[in-house]
Subunit: 351 residues, 2 copies
Amino acid sequence: MASDAQPAPAKQPVTLREVAALAGVSVATASKALNGQGRMTAETRTRIRETAQRLGFRPNSLAQSLLRRRSFTVGLLTNDTYGRFSLPLMAGVSDALVDAGVSVFLCNVEDDPRLAQLHVDAMLDKRVDGIIATGKRIDRHLPVDLANLGIPAIYAFTEPDPNAIAFVSDDAGGARLAVEHFCRLGRRRIAHVSGPASFAVVHARAEAYRAVLAENGLPVMEPLLGYWSEAWGHEAVKTLFDGEGFDGTREKPDAVFCGNDQIARGVIDALRERGIGVPDEVGVIGFDNWQIVAEATRPPLTSVDMNLAALGREAGLALLSLVGGEPALPGIRKLPCRLVVRQSCGRPPDG
Amino acid sequence: MASDAQPAPAKQPVTLREVAALAGVSVATASKALNGQGRMTAETRTRIRETAQRLGFRPNSLAQSLLRRRSFTVGLLTNDTYGRFSLPLMAGVSDALVDAGVSVFLCNVEDDPRLAQLHVDAMLDKRVDGIIATGKRIDRHLPVDLANLGIPAIYAFTEPDPNAIAFVSDDAGGARLAVEHFCRLGRRRIAHVSGPASFAVVHARAEAYRAVLAENGLPVMEPLLGYWSEAWGHEAVKTLFDGEGFDGTREKPDAVFCGNDQIARGVIDALRERGIGVPDEVGVIGFDNWQIVAEATRPPLTSVDMNLAALGREAGLALLSLVGGEPALPGIRKLPCRLVVRQSCGRPPDG
DNA sequence: CTCCCTTGAGAAAACCTTTTCCCAAGTCGC
DNA sequence: GCGACTTGGGAAAAGGTTTTCTCAAGGGAG
């Protein structure tokens, strides 16, 4: 026989109709009882609730969505294949939304416009309440236009045009954090090695680097722009220590602020090979706080953390309020970074 | 006025009813026309199709799902926070499903049973067609039971009980690939440095390592088990080169097969610091083929790739056929790894 | 000229829930 | 004792689509 003592393998989900029938009421009343709406005796309400509980009733979200015109789903579009940036961000988004019962479709669209359109269409068909777009790097845009989709769109860690809503890390602020930390530690010859000039963040950070040095009356060395790789970090060390040095004084750096953790790692490895002590002779600070790299570096790498999870959380909350109909001004919100101090930057001279 | 020349900002999505009205037919006929069902004159069909096209009609997936009892969504559950393994896998899953119009909810549940249950419930409410579960490592299970959910579940890169359906990488095969490659290159003293003994894959790979050496009549050194970190790679090199060596012969290794790329990187760095040439004196092969690490290693690291994207694709296709009602035998399917040869393993002596 | 069959298309039910409107019975005030 | 109001609960529509059933018209066979 089909009846056994098991706790019901939930073959077909229980519907409200069944709950209502078993509780001896109409579906309308059952619905109201479960949603705390309508008027009925307390006895009726509890009876219905208990019946629902006993049957393990869970409302069909599809039916609800159809009626409410709200699916309680959002799409997260990314072109960050390895998830270096998008996964922490996604964690934040998810965290902000899960309590509202909102689930997230993750779509990796690489840089393929056709694939991007395919995913966007699929999400539109599924009536997502909104879309969050994120990119590998702040100015590497997605190959698809999210305006005029008829649903709210929020950008995170990527800046489209200025009349969209975007959340990005405050890269200039992050750079300040790093360089000012070096200043406080008494470093006086601070160099900057960063990624390609084609990235907007490279310039934002370089500007901040220059500004902080100027404020502290320290000499500036023209930032070395190259690639986001360890190999470039190695190469940059050659230039830094075999080259001209600062301001014609031929002084060598006692600190290097790097554009990301991979560059920083390359720099540290190259310094070690030259017999230059980190952090004693030269301090190094990275950017991104990619834990797995920062902690494996010897010594462990001090790095600027962009708080991607917080960024994702903010983006999620903003989308939620947008979906809820609250108005929001377009614009770009910069969220502060934080410095995660490990051992590569050194300690204050006096302890 | 509300009418302007813009290409219609699609405020409210177009419904089938509107298409039908404009084409002068009933919704039933419109539906059939668009789905290639029913019978009607070719003229009617094309007229309806053109109307739909012109209005930019896209069927409401929610309504379809409600009726078909199929939502064209699946959930991907993971506890891999940084997405090292789950993102490539997800890419494969997504790739397998996107053409079927299926979207993927990504849920990172960390190791929190409460959070896991929350996500599973949310997905059940949304009537996902199935669930794919994946873990950080093959034997690090999710803190939630996916049996008896009433929908198909597939495991990828994680093995639950043997009467589930799981796709995992053939770790033993991958290890064979690496060790046999060393043998072909003429290496004779092949050591193995791997992760913690608490991981099943560590033993699977170690077994294969022993087997291949035995088959080739080469001496076995007891595998060194430790951690999945660079630091452990460093430490292991001490043991390998300051210790007993092979079989009391006190011979030192001329090759090291590592349990992952981070260990391999640590080993290579430590060898360089000892002045031991890689690959000339000692060859090194890693596992995971974590591109960003493997390519940054000097020299670039030869590594075993678990084909996670392929794994994801297989899992996605399997789930699809399960959802389609096709029966599938429970069991664990192992998918082959492949060796990605870079420079750390050396070339054939006469090559 | 009938009868049957085919063709083309529409009506309606179904999926599941929410919400508005409605009604019957009871209660209160005067 | 009567009107007005409250209370408890149900009927029905709505959301957008698919599918089954139904039906009218037309065509061919006898």
